[in-house]
């Protein structure tokens, strides 16, 4: 098992180097640099007249005068030492910037993940048990519609309904402008109201997807021979579903858990943009539009690590829930 994990980690490191090198090459070959972005977006007229001297100095300072391969090696060397460099366009190190935004993203993603799991498992089991009946069919249909509902459309619809028409919920942001003046309870309530719409948007697609996934797997499992064996020894239908069948359909389900790992931390660019939520997705968008190389690279590194780790986690979990799998 350990050998297997180490082997997989080694391969992952290789893949990571490939990905980051490719991305670094790509962003460095784009015309425009953080300096031009700064000059263009500088706002104040005095900033616009950065002297050529200054410009060259900054270029050197940021390592932009070197060929991109050398720049990449510098970056890689930093990563090896655990240093993701400083961000160019915002104060602070890349690591700190990411850490600052993480909380906001996790607040949304963890809440919605828990919600989605709590709801989808009973729904999936219910759909399997009542497969083909009218209530099950209508549930499936609604879930299917939700599954096809693009999240950016749903978010806007919800905003119109709950903010513009009903005026129940705030439009966007994490807290109201008078947050500081509120009592503890009031603060919690304020946060709750702000979370409501983004969490809904975060949850509904995965809920629909998980439920369908569980149902599809359960329907396959209940056709297996060992379910017939369980019936033949007199096990009741509820226990067959929840013990014998569900334990088996967990096997593909854990792969899903592994694959959701990156989205847990990476946030959703679109949802965060719509709700002006200061999370990872928003940070990524800022980094891209401002050409902040170190920040972009830090984020790409993080996403890639999470994606690869998610796959490894899925495989390892697979071995845990399925006694047939041994890694040696």
């Amino acid at each position: 098992m350990l050998v297997y994990i180490i082997r997989r980690l080694l391969i992952s490191v290789l893949t990571l180097v490939l990905i980051t090198a490719f991305v670094y090459g790509l962003i460095r070959s784009m015309p425009g640099s953080p300096l031009t972005a700064m000059i263009a977006g500088g706002g104040d007229s005095s900033d616009k007249s950065i002297s050529t001297q200054q410009y060259e100095r900054m270029k050197e300072q940021f390592g932009l005068n070197k060929h991109w391969t050398l720049g990449y090696l510098d970056w890689l060397n930093g990563v090896r030492k655990g240093d993701l460099q400083n961000a160019l366009t915002q104060p602070g190190t890349v690591a700190k910037l990411i850490g600052d935004r993480m909380a906001a993203t996790l607040l949304l993603s963890v809440t919605s993940l828990i919600l989605a799991y709590l709801l989808s498992i009973p729904l999936g089991l219910y759909s399997t048990a009542r497969n083909g009946t009218i209530p099950e069919r209508s549930t499936s249909l609604i879930l299917y519609m939700l599954y096809s509902f693009p999240v950016f459309v749903a978010a806007l619809y919800l905003q119109i309904l709950f903010h513009v028409n009903l005026e129940w919920l705030p439009l966007y942001g994490v807290t109201s402008s008078n947050y500081a003046e509120l009592s503890v309870l009031g603060k919690a309530w304020d946060l709750f109201l702000h979370c409501l719409l983004p969490v809904t948007c975060f949850t509904y697609t995965s809920l629909a997807y998980y439920t369908r996934f569980i149902k599809a797997n359960m329907l396959e499992v209940v056709q297996q021979d060992y379910i017939r064996t369980a019936k033949a020894k007199g096990v009741g239908p509820f226990k067959i579903l929840t013990v014998h069948a569900f334990r088996n359909s967990l096997i593909p389900f854990v792969t899903l858990i592994g694959l959701t790992l990156p989205s847990l931390f990476s946030g959703a660019i679109i949802i965060e943009k719509i709700f002006s939520w200061p999370g990872m997705g928003a940070l990524f968008l800022e980094a891209i539009s401002q050409r902040d190389y170190p920040l972009e690279m830090g984020l790409v590194l993080m996403f890639s690590v999470l994606t690869l780790m998610g796959q490894l986690l899925a495989d390892v979990l697979y071995g845990v829930v399925d006694p047939r799998i041994t890694y040696s």
Binding site: T15, L18, F22, M30, Y144, S148, P150, V153, V300
Partner: protein
């Protein structure tokens, strides 16, 4: 079935968009010649702007400035023309009395749906209905072209990895992983900044070039499964070459399951285009796109609800339709359901 007819309906709308809504005649006779000025829109949507201007060179020379109804009669009293069902333009607001009796397009909050602007107008006064109808072409094109590209890459990579296994598989699997981790946004921004003039084609190629990993993984798995089945061994023992084994024997049997992610992929490509346009990274305005409309709507969400509701419905129903078709394909190719039928 409903899904299929909806897709057929969408395709018809896309094909006939300039005939449904536009400011250029479908057919007209002008100074003794027959012209099809509405073809202008087709070229425009494909990003072939020079070609588009060529179609109305005659009229540009006669200083039409894209306004036909009055100018046709003015310059040639004998001219006649067949007009689109609705006189609106997806690229510009209509001025007063361009079309006899039709007022100037309202703009901003004034542009709520009315008799002339069925689904309202946007901030600049451009008709939403016209944009939506013309945007159908974009979403359909994106769906099929980018999925076509993705399917091609995915099937080839997956087939090679699955058929040969060994070190070819190791390398190709790494490639798949790398592409999976690549953020589409970075790639698109990179291409956007390298090319001055990004068109819908670049977008489609990019969506295709990043969206093939799922297909490749499935193809790889199918190839690995099928290459162990005895008819492949049988063909091998008959002396069949590798190409024959791959394409005649394996691919033909793997095709049905591969079709499933492809048909779901059409929906997701349309969704990606919508999302990119929504974030402002799509084909640049004034190209009509459902996503662009939505993103405009987001900034005016307090007042101009029509910019959100109608394009949102369009994206939703299109994605739903393609998903339903994918579902149908899945059911039809599922061995469990196939055996009983």
């Amino acid at each position: 079935m409903a899904a299929l007819s909806f897709v057929v309906f969408l395709s018809l709308v896309a094909l006939t968009a300039p005939m449904i809504v536009g400011t250029r005649p479908i057919v007209c006779k002008y100074k003794g010649e027959i012209y099809f000025p509405a073809t202008y829109y087709y070229w425009r949507i494909l990003g072939l702007n020079t070609q588009a201007y060529k179609t109305e060179a005659v009229f540009t020379n006669d200083k039409f400035r894209g306004v036909y109804p009055g100018n046709l009669k003015k310059n040639d009293p004998d001219s006649w023309a067949i007009w689109p069902l609705v006189y609106q333009d997806p690229y510009r607001p209509i001025e007063a009395d361009e079309w006899p009796g039709q007022p100037e397009s309202p703009s901003g909050i004034e542009g709520a749906p009315n008799k002339y602007n069925l689904l309202g107008t946007n901030d600049d006064g451009v008709d939403v209905f016209a944009q939506m109808v013309h945007a159908t072409q974009i979403s359909l094109l994106v769906g099929f072209v980018s999925m076509g590209i993705a399917a091609l890459i995915g099937v080839i990579v997956g087939a090679l990895a699955g058929f040969y296994g060994g070190w070819i598989d190791v390398i190709l699997s790494r490639v798949i992983e790398v592409v999976m981790c690549l953020p589409t946004l970075i790639l698109i921004l990179a291409v956007r900044s390298i090319l001055d003039d990004i068109t819908i084609w670049h977008l489609m190629v990019l969506i295709g070039a990043t969206g093939w990993t799922g297909i490749a993984r499935l193809t790889r798995a199918e190839f690995m499964k099928i290459r162990e089945i005895e008819y492949v061994s049988a063909a091998r023992s008959l002396g069949a070459g590798q190409m024959r084994l791959m394409f005649v024997h394996i691919l033909r049997n793997a095709l049905a399951p591969i079709l499933v992610p492809i048909s779901f992929g059409i929906a997701s490509a349309i969704l990606t285009e919508g999302a990119l346009s929504f974030l402002g990274f799509g084909a640049p305005p004034p190209n009509p796109s459902w996503g662009t409309l939505l993103s405009e709507g987001r900034t005016r969400i307090q007042t101009m609800w029509w910019l959100v509701v109608y394009p949102g419905m369009a994206i939703f129903s299109t994605v739903l339709a393609y998903n339903l078709i994918g579902e149908g394909v899945q059911e039809a190719t599922d061995p469990r359901t196939r055996e009983t039928s």
